[in-house]
């Protein structure tokens, strides 16, 4: 196919943000909202079409686009395979939901907000499409600019601190990755990852390069102990910002491990497995305990995200089929669930302007529809069978048991803690006694909120009962990832 479908996908949101920039509505923002909604839905359907026409029986990169970029030695190369397509669809699916949510929650500078969201979407899709290290770095870092502004301009009272922390933490992690990328270029003579896969990077370089990549991905993931920016960023970010942060930005690091760390540095990946296990287990248990103690709902969900990402890193570095498939499943499902939970917090925040758990209580008596949906998402977050959250955790644990009994046992303990904080949250917010008289006057969710939350609930349940569409898509790619990894280990 000659039509550059991936470039279209990447630059469609950027172009439409330019149109929003030119649009002249002063008070109502109708045209900016409709342009952005239209373009993001169009992007979503384009990505669905991409998924539909992707050949899932091969692990080759498809829809490859190549253009000479920097002096012919660094190419602008894009392509997708069974793993990245799911993240692209997730991105394009979450973005329209964010745009709908900002209609209710963003009151000032709506036009600029939509532009920032759309530019961010461009960079996020770019991250998942790029097949060249420099292009990847470019998109990976560029996403910081709109996210910094989203947190800083539309955020809560401590937004400046959070935005700075977010930006500087991520940038500091990433510069080491830039050094590693340039070093890889001088070792292999290319930054095209399909070529690097074939050239074995010498053993003596692998460990140090792997650590440089880790420094970037660990911050972005976030892994313990560099996760501290995440709760701050989540708490201060506006709802749509939190949704994008939790649903997509955190997945970039997991994707980075799968796409770069493991195939490029198989020996180092094996060597550092115990390190990752330790950090993941600490993340799962420690942040779950921290989540138990939170009295801010957004902070609680943020810490639960760190714990969930702990399962992802654990699963990826089991380097078994179940573990990796479980991680990918967990990432997609966490993308949906955390997005839904942050939207739920946003819904009540828009009405009562408080994120404190103590403000609420007994919501089920006054806003039953909302409470019902909240309960579904909370149960999905704790991994109830029948929701997508279950399958990811289950597969990750199944993979871990094959490699390390101790790690698996400790991680299973985290599942119990997860159930504890989610159920306790539900108990205190949805059920319980109403102490706050304002809750009696609260309105149930309106149409646009129903659309967002029901769509998310539908997919969470759908993928909980019928995981095949996702599993089939990444099956072949994961198989070849593991095969390549094992052959690389044997040849060394």
């Amino acid at each position: 196919m000659n039509f550059p479908i991936l470039s279209t996908l990447i630059f469609l949101p950027l172009v439409s943000s330019f149109f929003i920039f030119l649009s002249k509505d002063k008070t109502t923002n109708v045209s900016s909202i409709s342009i952005s909604l239209f373009s993001s839905v169009a992007t979503f359907f384009l990505s669905l079409f991409l998924w539909y026409s992707l050949d899932i029986n091969t692990s080759e990169f498809q829809f490859v686009e190549e253009k000479s970029w920097i002096n012919n030695y660094i190419k602008f190369k894009l392509g997708v395979d069974g793993i990245s397509i799911l993240f692209i669809v997730l991105t394009t699916f979450i973005t329209p939901i964010c745009i709908i949510s900002c209609v209710n929650s963003v009151k000032v500078r709506v036009k600029e907000f939509l532009i920032a969201i759309l530019i961010l979407e461009t960079f996020m899709i770019g991250v998942f499409c790029s097949l060249d290290l420099v292009i990847f770095y470019l998109f990976f870092e560029a996403g910081l600019i709109p996210m910094f502004l989203i947190i800083g301009v539309w955020g809560g009272p401590r937004r400046v601190y959070s935005a700075f922390k977010f930006f500087l933490f991520t940038l500091l992690g990433s510069v080491l990755m830039l050094v590693a990328i340039i070093v890889i270029y001088w070792i292999t003579g290319t930054t095209d990852i399909t070529q690097i896969y074939e050239i074995q990077i010498p053993k003596e370089y692998q460990n140090i390069l792997w650590l440089a990549f880790l420094s970037s991905f660990a911050v972005k993931m976030p892994m313990w102990p560099v996760h501290t920016w995440l709760p701050d960023a989540h708490v201060e970010a506006p709802t749509a910002g939190s949704v994008i942060l939790a649903a997509i930005l955190l997945k970039m690091a997991g994707y980075g491990f799968l796409r770069f760390s493991i195939p490029m540095f198989p020996i180092a990946s094996e060597y550092f497995t115990p390190l990752i296990y330790t950090l993941s287990i600490i993340a799962i248990i420690y942040t779950s305990l921290v989540a138990l103690m939170q009295d801010d709902m957004k902070k609680l969900i943020a810490y639960s995200s760190v714990a969930h990402m702990g399962y992802v890193t654990l699963g990826i570095f089991t380097l078994t089929k179940q573990g990796i498939e479980g991680s990918i499943y967990q990432m997609i499902s966490h993308g949906l669930i955390s997005a839904a939970l942050f939207l739920c917090v946003g819904v009540v925040y828009d009405r009562l302007h408080s994120r404190m758990i103590s403000t609420y209580g007994g919501l089920v008596n006054y806003i039953p529809k909302y409470s019902f949906l909240f309960l579904i998402f909370a149960l999905a977050a704790l991994g109830l069978p029948g929701t997508s959250g279950f399958l990811g955790e289950f597969l990750v644990l199944a993979g871990t048991f094959q490699k390390s009994f101790l790690a698996a046992m400790l991680a299973t303990f985290g599942v119990i803690l997860g159930a504890a904080y989610m159920l306790w949250l539900t108990k205190r917010v949805i059920f319980g006694v109403t102490n706050n008289s304002e809750i009696k006057k609260i309105n149930d969710i309106n149409k646009s909120e129903v659309v967002m939350l029901v769509t998310l609930a539908f997919f969470i349940l759908f993928f909980g009962f019928y995981p095949l569409p996702l599993m089939e898509t990444f099956n072949v790619s994961v198989n070849s990832l593991i095969n390549n990894y094992e052959t690389a280990l044997i040849t060394n």
Binding site: L138, E141, V153, A163, F164, L168, L171
Partner: protein, 464 residues
Amino acid sequence: MFPEIFLSLSIFFILMVGVFIKKSFNLIFNLTSLIIIVTISIILTNSNNVERIFLDSFIRDPFSNYFKILILLSTLFVLNSSKNFIIDNKLDKFEYPIIILLSILGMFFMVSSNDLILFYLGLELQSLSLYILASIDRDNLRSTESGVKYFVLSALSSGLLLYGCSLLYGFTGSTNFELIADQLNKENTGAVFAMVFILVGLAFKISAVPFHMWTPDVYEGAPTSITSYFAVVPKVAGLALLIKFMFVPFSNILLEWQTIMIFISIASMILGAVAAMIQKNFKRLLAYSSIGHIGYALAGVATGAISGYQSAIVYISIYVIMNIGAFSCLYLLKKDGQYKENISDLSGISKKHPLIAISLLIILFSLAGVPPLGGFFAKFYVFVAVLEKEMYALAIIGLITTVMSAFYYLKIIKTIYFDDSIVTFEPTKNRTAKFSVIASCTILITFFLYPSILNNLVNTLFVS
């Protein structure tokens, strides 16, 4: 030689015009722009062959042509975008553009020189013009102070430079760069000593640490129109000269000067990042940021390889674009007839002046080196060259200072976007400044489409 002859004759001519016609600032200003454009076209139409004249003391080659055009173009932008500022601050003396042209003439000789004597003459012509420019607002105490400060320190460095030149002549027996290169080796201790003196003098001219002391005071004290000229044009010429020295006469004692260069580079990067954090004045901040940027360019030079020199040239070219944009924004911030230059005055301008705000956003993120803007590619090329020579420590320190310097750029962005607005600026009719801002932002945004466009140009510069 023709561009230089044309430039000198034009300077004499407009000097006469200025003397004999009263109130001739506007006329001379426009003539100056015209002269610059004509000189650019003369250089462009000349063939790209290497020409040597005056017993090989003067060389016209692609290298010098590139820098001459860069100097002229940036002067054109700096001068025109600051015109309203000059008139508003009553600096509209007819000497102003003429002295700028004179300093350009000095820089032309600097970048074309192939001989110690010619190089020193060019440098002095440039420096003397710059002393006058720094104190051109002679009734203003700070401007005068900055001029004197610059003069005293710069004269000292010129003295060191001259001493180095004389030592070099004494130990190698020649003033010609290529003959010196043949004579120089590390056994020639006296000449190595001379190299240190020359390096110090040059580092002073481009305000690299530890010879940077004059920069913040002069930047802050001089009128903004002069500061923007100082921040851009002499740096280009100084770096060109430095690269020339490292590439031709000192090419055989690479190991001797490399250590010094690495030290200067690291010190500049660190000081630029740390000292800028606490600045409240935008011009002073840009002074420290320029020290940091020179550090990155010197990291490219410190590799001692052609690819490193090329990356430094690309870096300084993009730096010029960013700084012209940043200073042009200052010309748009006018209230009650006064130009604001404190960072706190910028607070909340994103609400009332969204276009200035977004331009500053782009320029500042680019200065911080965040992709996909032009500033990222500048840093990227430098670090590619540095890592090619396996200078890992330099690269890692450089990248960490990038993060540190990102902090103060973010602080300005915070002031612009996150804070509440205090000041409403007057809508200015300064079209040229707006044009410069828009041009600079457009280049920085679209740079990622053809990131090798500068590289292809710079690759042709080192033919010899």
